[in-house]
């Protein structure tokens, strides 16, 4: 599993990457009460803000970590946003198909992310 500086986790499944947010991010956000996901089929560029996530405290965005196409979204967290807090590693947000699987290597591994979070 890889991690972004925006506190997303990335898990490769062939040429598809599954994206969620880390335990650290979910605890910083507080209780999540609303999630808006992109539409399947959307072509996204790295850095595009494609998810809206609202906690009891504030609204924030989640950016696409890579260029690619959204191939699946997790409607379960739209129906029950609290799952993001209960199980951040299980509550994935979207799956995206990426052109270059090697692009994942540029992200932090778990040790590097732990150091990054401090």
């Amino acid at each position: 599993m890889k991690f972004t500086e925006d506190h997303e986790w990335l898990r490769a499944e062939g040429d598809v990457v599954v994206v969620g947010i880390t335990e650290h991010a979910s605890s910083q956000l507080g209780d999540v009460v609303f999630v808006e996901l992109p539409e399947v089929g959307t072509k996204v560029a790295s850095g595009d803000e494609i998810v809206v996530i609202e906690s009891v405290k504030a609204a924030s965005d989640i950016a696409a970590p890579l260029d690619g196409e959204i191939v699946e979204v997790n409607e379960a967290i739209v129906d029950e946003p609290g799952k993001v807090n209960e199980d951040p590693l299980g509550a994935w947000f979207f799956k995206m198909k990426i052109a270059d699987a090697a692009a994942l290597d540029a992200f932090m591994d778990e040790d590097a992310y732990e150091t990054f979070v401090g």
Binding site: G30, V33, F34, V52, E54, V56, K57
Partner: protein, 374 residues
């Protein structure tokens, strides 16, 4: 956070794992490890302990209570002369334009008037009272007391073992009571819509009292985050958001806090700043009013969201002044201002969220029924 003031109970908050944030010049606990949602729900189900020591506590003294009340009536449109001994009222300082400078609690303590004002406004309020009370009263700022709020349906049962006198208190009663060996000024009131008490306790005794209350299994510490969602569901105004220097009490739906004796035709009608506008609006109505708002989707609409009459086009008709997710309601809730003709319960307006207009329904306030001991 070097320039921020610390609460007398700072170390206790840190020990309990509070996340501390800057608020009104203080380092304040915004939440504890349980989180905003759990703290909110616990307060409605059992009892929550809030540290609100950042608020201003002031005693006004004069020749007697009536002299002080008479002087203070020049600054607030409240019947203070008619306020019974050991009773409290909600009120607000008004300005010459009929807007609200701050909201506050006022209590008749027999030989003096005790007031509690918002933290962010306290220096201005104190200056306003010093300048405005003339020779009728002196302003004594209380610096050596903390202020705790114990809120929720179990609050009485938690406090009664410390002093059974709390059982005799009704909503908005005030009493001086010994709690865990300390002389406390207790009122049966709060900012959550629940039954509960606000307790002014000497700083030296505050930590021991707080720990004693937290030892009760019914009590959990609650931070500013849940304080805000609780008061929002209760339909209570937050100064600087739902009310401000440009908003009149009539627009804000606070006419109930202006007793008949201070209104046109009353024995002491007017005589407070902005009386001309405020009394006229009581008679004729205001052009815009504060309303409850329920977004129809699941996305919270927060302070600043602009409201429109229709799904497309047109000029803004109003704005949300407080909003978020209501944990007890289980859906987003908000308050804001709309023109009177759009303010009827059930009217649909549209809030613009991330460039898209979403339907919002005007709803009665409060969102959660008040649970006071009348």
């Amino acid at each position: 956070m070097t320039d921020l003031l610390r609460l007398p109970l700072h170390d206790l908050h840190v020990e309990m794992g509070a996340k501390m944030v800057p608020f009104a010049g203080y380092e304040m606990p915004v939440q504890y490890p349980a989180g905003v949602m759990a703290e909110h729900r616990h307060t409605r189900a059992r009892a929550g302990l809030f540290d609100v020591s950042h608020m201003g506590q002031v005693r006004l003294r004069g020749a007697d209570y009536e002299a002080v009340a008479r002087a203070m009536e020049a600054l607030v449109p409240v019947d203070l002369i008619g306020l019974g001994e050991n009773r409290q009222r909600y009120g607000f300082f008004t300005n010459d334009a009929g807007g609200i400078e701050d909201d506050l609690m006022l209590a008749n303590r027999g030989d003096h008037l005790f007031v509690v004002v918002n933290a962010a406004c306290k220096h201005d309020d104190i200056a306003l009272m010093r300048a405005g009370l003339g020779g009728g009263a002196t302003v004594e700022v209380i610096e050596d007391r903390a202020l705790l709020a114990l809120q929720g349906p179990d609050a009485e049962a938690v406090l009664a073992p410390l002093n059974a006198g709390v059982r005799d208190m009704r909503f908005m009663d005030v009493a001086t009571l010994d709690l865990a060996g300390a002389e406390c000024w207790v009122s049966r009131s709060g900012y959550t819509g629940e039954d509960g008490f606000e307790i002014s306790v000497p700083v030296a005794a505050a930590a021991a009292l707080a720990r004693r209350l937290l030892d009760d299994e019914a009590v959990e510490p609650v931070g500013l985050g849940a304080r805000d969602s609780l008061r929002l569901e209760a339909g209570l105004c937050l100064y600087g958001h739902d009310i401000d220097a440009d908003t009149s009490p009539v627009e804000a739906g606070l006419t109930w806090a202006i007793q008949k004796v201070r209104r046109s035709g009353g024995a002491r009608a007017g005589g407070f700043p902005g009386a001309a506008r405020i009394l006229r609006e009581i008679e004729a109505g205001a052009r815009r009013v504060r309303v409850g708002l329920q977004p129809e989707g699941r996305a919270p609409m927060r302070d600043g969201v602009v409201l429109f009459a229709g799904a497309d086009g047109g000029e803004p008709v109003g704005q949300i002044t407080s909003g978020g997710f209501g944990p007890t309601v289980g859906a987003p809730v908000a308050m804001g201002y709309l023109p009177t003709e759009l303010a009827a319960t059930g009217t649909t307006v549209f809030g613009e969220l991330r460039g898209k207009r979403q339907p919002v329904k005007v709803a009665p306030l409060p969102f959660v029924p008040a649970n006071f001991k009348r």
